[in-house]
Subunit: 473 residues, 2 copies
């Protein structure tokens, strides 16, 4: 047991025994550190752990407090059991119909794919835009279009180095958001008819890409805690037909699953052994709640089988459309496809993000953002426990901003969505995350798309609707 786990357990015991009561303020990190002769970072990690256990909460500019008594805890969803056969995919009409739902500013956007935009340093980025572009030599507007701006690639390369990953600037291709990187990767790796491994449930973007490129999908059993089943991956790879995997090993959308580092290493080894590439969708990893930043599968990739795709859209600069692929052996193929399809990502967006990163403060911003997310997660989990039926199952992800809620099988998520919209709350229905329309009784909720009170209010509204639907059946 590490020092911070020990400290966390001690405090846990104090809360359990009643020595620390609801609403009590914990000693500040500095006080604890001095009293117990521990480093401040150890104390921080302990507090994080307690926070993720739902025992304490951070209040901005005030400190850590023992949380109000949590309602009877809900169960977690179990590992999924998708169809064992590959599927063609026809999901687009559903995705488009659902994403195009009209929703005014009055709607509580629990179905949003985005964070509350006020959580981002929009003013500082706006300043960076102006200053970076005034300083930019005009010829830079037409140079480095294919690969992306060198300075930004250097900064990304340095961030990889901090994760213990050697990624040279020549391996990094700047794209129009991570979505562009992911789609170009799949396109570079496949021919119509090829088989792609996915998680179940899976983010709908790979399903849409698979439909568009006329590929086949095989969804694998996936645990809400540690991600896709490696046994299933290996069985599929051993069958010899898999062309590529597209997984989200850190804070998977929609489950929030986090594959532990050890499991990621085993996955990397499997891929190298079977020589099958992985498209690693890694847009949420910076939004971890635990004491340590998880590593990506790419960190364990020695032979270039992992194409690591990420962006700044979820963490810093939504709407700027700056993402990248660190593309291993497919770097030149993907770069070529990119130049052919859209030439380049926006130069001003790249320059602004680069200027912002150079000024420092990104990691501080991320730390604050993670605190807010964790706080909101607790609020929504509590609100679900308070207002949903007792047989509801809900994830408690260690990062990201989605909860996956498994309702009674008597609930139809699409019907719930329609009633919820009428009541001014949006949600994302489960069938969107499946090649064969499973998860009909599941929903995905975004716990940080708007203010805390709206999140709680919206969640309570959903809980009432679920009860009402069950009463009727």
């Amino acid at each position: 047991m590490t020092q911070y786990e020990q400290l966390a357990d001690e405090i846990h015991a104090l809360i359990h025994s009643g020595s620390l009561r609801v609403g009590d303020r914990l000693p500040s990190v500095r006080q604890s550190s001095e009293r117990r002769q521990l480093s401040q970072s150890t104390v921080f990690q302990a507090y994080y752990l307690l926070e993720s256990r739902g025992l304490i909460e951070a209040r901005p500019r005030s400190g850590y407090y023992v949380r109000p008594r949590v309602p009877a805890p809900l169960q977690r969803p179990k590992t999924s059991r998708p169809s064992p056969r590959p599927h063609g995919v026809a999901i687009n009409d559903l995705v488009v119909a659902l994403l195009n739902q009209p929703h005014g500013s009055q709607v509580v956007p629990l179905g949003s794919a985005f964070l509350d935009p006020t959580l981002f340093p929009v003013d500082r980025l706006a300043r960076s835009l102006g200053t970076a572009m005034r300083r930019l030599a005009p010829e830079k507007l037409i140079e480095e279009l294919a690969t992306g701006q060198l300075r930004l690639r250097q900064q990304i390369s340095q961030r990889y180095a901090a994760d213990g990953i050697h990624a040279g600037v020549d391996e990094i291709i700047i794209t129009n958001g991570a979505m562009d990187a992911l789609n170009l990767s799949l396109q570079a790796l496949t021919q119509p008819g090829d088989l792609v491994l996915l998680e179940a449930p899976t983010f709908y973007a790979p399903l849409q890409a698979i439909e568009r490129l006329k590929l086949r999908a095989l969804q694998l059993p996936t645990s809400p805690s540690d991600g896709v089943s490696l046994e299933s991956v290996e069985a599929a790879l051993a069958a010899g037909e898999v062309k590529v995997c597209w997984f989200m090993p850190s804070f998977q959308n929609p489950l929030g699953a986090l594959m532990p580092d050890e499991k990621k290493k085993s996955l990397a080894d499997l891929l190298a052994r079977y020589q099958v590439p992985l498209i690693e969708d890694d847009v949420y990893r910076d939004l971890y709640f635990g004491p340590r930043k998880p590593r990506p599968v790419k960190a364990f990739d020695r032979d270039g089988w992992v194409i690591h795709c990420a962006s700044f859209s979820k963490t810093l600069a939504p709407g700027y459309r700056v993402g990248w692929a660190c593309a291993g052996r497919w770097t030149r193929d993907i770069e070529r496809l990119k130049v052919m399809s859209s030439l380049s990502a926006s130069i001003p967006s790249q320059a602004a993000i680069s200027d912002y990163l150079a000024q420092g403060g990104y990691d501080l911003h991320l730390r604050r953002l993670r605190q807010t997310l964790l706080h909101h997660r607790a609020l929504m989990v509590d609100a679900i426990a308070e207002s949903f039926p007792a047989d509801t199952k809900v994830t408690q992800p260690e990062g990201g901003y989605f909860l996956w809620v498994e309702l009674s099988r008597r609930i139809d998520a699409l019907e719930l969505m329609r009633s919820a919209m009428a009541a001014g709350v949006s949600l994302t229905p489960g069938p969107l995350f499946s090649a064969d329309r499973r998860f009909a009784h599941c929903i995905r909720l975004n716990y940080c798309s708007t203010s805390a009170d709206k999140v709680v209010r919206g969640t309570h509204t959903l809980g009432k609707l679920v009860h009402r639907m069950l009463d009727k059946t």
Copy 2:
């Protein structure tokens, strides 16, 4: 004959007779307008016409002057005669190899696809970036991603209206540059094996897209003056196999051909009759030298068969990556494909361009840009006439920034390119513009990629190299 043509002819006669001599300054537009009781715009148009005939030249902030004696005029290239059979395409390796040639800042970039970036209002755009984004409500960072920002679409719609085209904001999809719009359009309209009509020579992007999407190309005879042969288009359409046309009817790249409005109308009628869509690549039309802005084929499209694609990259904001499709009956299909592939164009780029347009001055900027282009065209045509062999044929496009040069058939453009690179000058070789590697003795030159003196010097260097190559053979 219009008033301005009459005025132009009078001045032409004065120059011809020697009454106006080389270096003489013409009366200012205002003086001429007052003396002759003509509107200033009529005088402007007359001066434009004389400029495009190579008789006078504008000197910035000084006025119009009779030009130095032009060398013996070179012939224009004739209408192309491409292969009459459809082709699969395998051009990518060549394109990538050529576009990836290393070239330092010492190289005179006559092979560039871009204008000299100092010609653009980079500082004003940088200010627009800062102010627009400081004013932007944060929620706009995650709204209007699918279609593009409403305000910018309104401004584009207004510019269409000024061209006599009704294009509602709902028909306009903002994309990541015109390249994105063009590629999404082709993707939305075709299945592998489909036949696409192209010009000959053609811009290489459609060739690359055709290769990537596994389509077939049929290149049609194209005149350097008025564009693709409508007889050939009709014959191909009548044969019943054509799925889509991809043409550039205004200042075609690389020929610079301008299809007259009447011919554009006939093309629109043909498309409607055969119910075959046209992807109209229209990125150069604002760069016209004539007295009137040409209209796009889209202006004559009554039934939505034309997908009009354009951008701000060639005219205002290179590197910002903001283009659009006005997509007629395929609007929703293309929007859907866009959302799936890269979600959205950069919000800051859109906001900055929108702010710039709202402040006014775009049309003034375009007018100045056109004057510079026209001046550079004359310089390069003269430099070719002075230094290239007498049997050289060269276009004199009425807009855009490319010359197409047809050399002796004993010259191999790829070999010339290599010698030129060694001598510090780049060029684009003809085979890049053909599905079957024709135009081996042709080159495309950019007359406005750098300063006037470098353009002249680079052209003279090429002339010497051509002479040397002919001496050797």
